[in-house]
């Protein structure tokens, strides 16, 4: 029903973490979840194979000539398709953006993350012009350390750059890191609440079925 592309030309910003959160919580909530891993490192593919606790279909595909048909095929049989892209500009990333109902651009607290997020948003806008339709997109603040100068500075820089931001901020929490090993998405506590809020934001933007039953 919906296709979410996660893209930024910066590595280490939290793309795969966002993909894991969406896929694991969607699968936990009874949705048919699929992923296209367009990252050379295969991190998401390996995570689904070794850690994920609920059924998630995953395909690793680097070839830009195959990525659009693959997304279309998975979209026909799943409630949500998440495309995790590489941490560098590539043709596959452009086509993933073109297929998406929503593009999420993660930003971790560093200057390079903001610079690359601005480039990625410009890329999304260019793609939208060529597609002659709107491509909804939001930057997502990840690994936030609330109350710190750097967190405040990042917020100001993003506002100055005019980037559209998702309301939910994902903090630097152990539960998000643990998920890479356990495959279990956070459903309780601060991490669980942030995860639920994050998914609700996505649903409100049309990136997830509204009827999604979020496990809690």
């Amino acid at each position: 029903m919906s296709i979410i592309a996660i893209a930024t030309t910066k590595g280490g910003a939290g793309k795969t973490t966002l993909a894991r959160l969406i896929l694991a919580r969607a699968a936990l909530g009874g949705l048919k979840a699929a992923a296209v891993d367009a990252d050379f490192n295969r991190t998401l593919t390996d995570w689904v194979a070794t850690a994920a606790k609920h059924p998630i279909t995953v395909r690793h595909e680097l070839d830009e000539t195959k990525i659009v048909p693959l997304i279309g095929e998975l979209h026909n049989w799943h409630d949500v398709v998440v495309v995790d892209t590489a941490g560098a500009a590539s043709q596959a990333t452009i086509f993933a953006i073109g297929c998406a109902d929503l593009v999420l651009v993660p930003i971790a607290p560093s200057s390079a993350d903001i610079v690359e997020a601005i480039k990625t948003v410009n890329l999304i806008k260019s793609a939208a012009q060529m597609l002659r339709r709107d491509v909804p997109h939001r930057v997502v603040l990840t690994a936030v350390q609330p109350g710190t100068n750097i967190a405040e500075h990042i917020e100001k820089e993003i506002a100055k750059a005019g980037l559209p931001v998702l309301a939910t901020r994902l903090h630097r929490l152990v539960a998000f890191q643990e998920m890479s090993f356990t495959g279990v998405p956070p459903t309780t506590g601060i991490a669980g609440n942030q995860c639920t809020s994050f998914l609700n934001d996505i649903a409100a933007l049309g990136g997830l079925p509204i009827a999604m039953k979020l496990a809690s």
Binding site: M1, H75, N76, Q91, I94, G98, C99, A127, L131
Partner: protein
């Protein structure tokens, strides 16, 4: 489930995509860089020893050392760290933008493989 029409995505975005690098391993074009007229004085190049008795010859690798002001070295380390890259990958990435024929495998972070 509703079907989405993605038929035009490839055609509509092909011009934009053509400006981006491909990830297809067999489609990476690696032109031979033009030889330098002269080596900069601060650069020392030493050839690595050749592998013996191998059927498939790996491409020769050369050691490359670069002298920098300490402050520049610190800046380089910080910028590479911000970009989550090794300094080697960071420098190669910058040179790629200047036209050096850097391949994707040249930018691999070998630290992760060793870990």
């Amino acid at each position: 489930m509703s079907k989405k029409d993605l038929a035009n995505v490839t055609a509509d975005l092909s011009a934009l995509a053509s400006m981006m690098p491909t990830q297809r391993p067999n489609a990476i074009v690696t032109p031979t860089p033009a030889p330098l007229a002269s080596e900069p004085p601060a650069v020392k190049v030493a050839s690595a020893p050749k592998a013996k008795g191998k059927t498939a010859e790996p491409e020769p690798v050369s050691q490359f050392s670069l002298s920098l002001r300490r402050d520049l070295r610190k800046q380089l380390a910080r910028l590479a760290d911000d970009a989550d890259m090794t300094m080697r990958a960071f420098v190669l990435n910058a040179l790629k933008a200047q036209g050096l024929a850097v391949r994707d495998e040249d930018l691999l972070d070998l630290r992760k493989e060793r870990a």
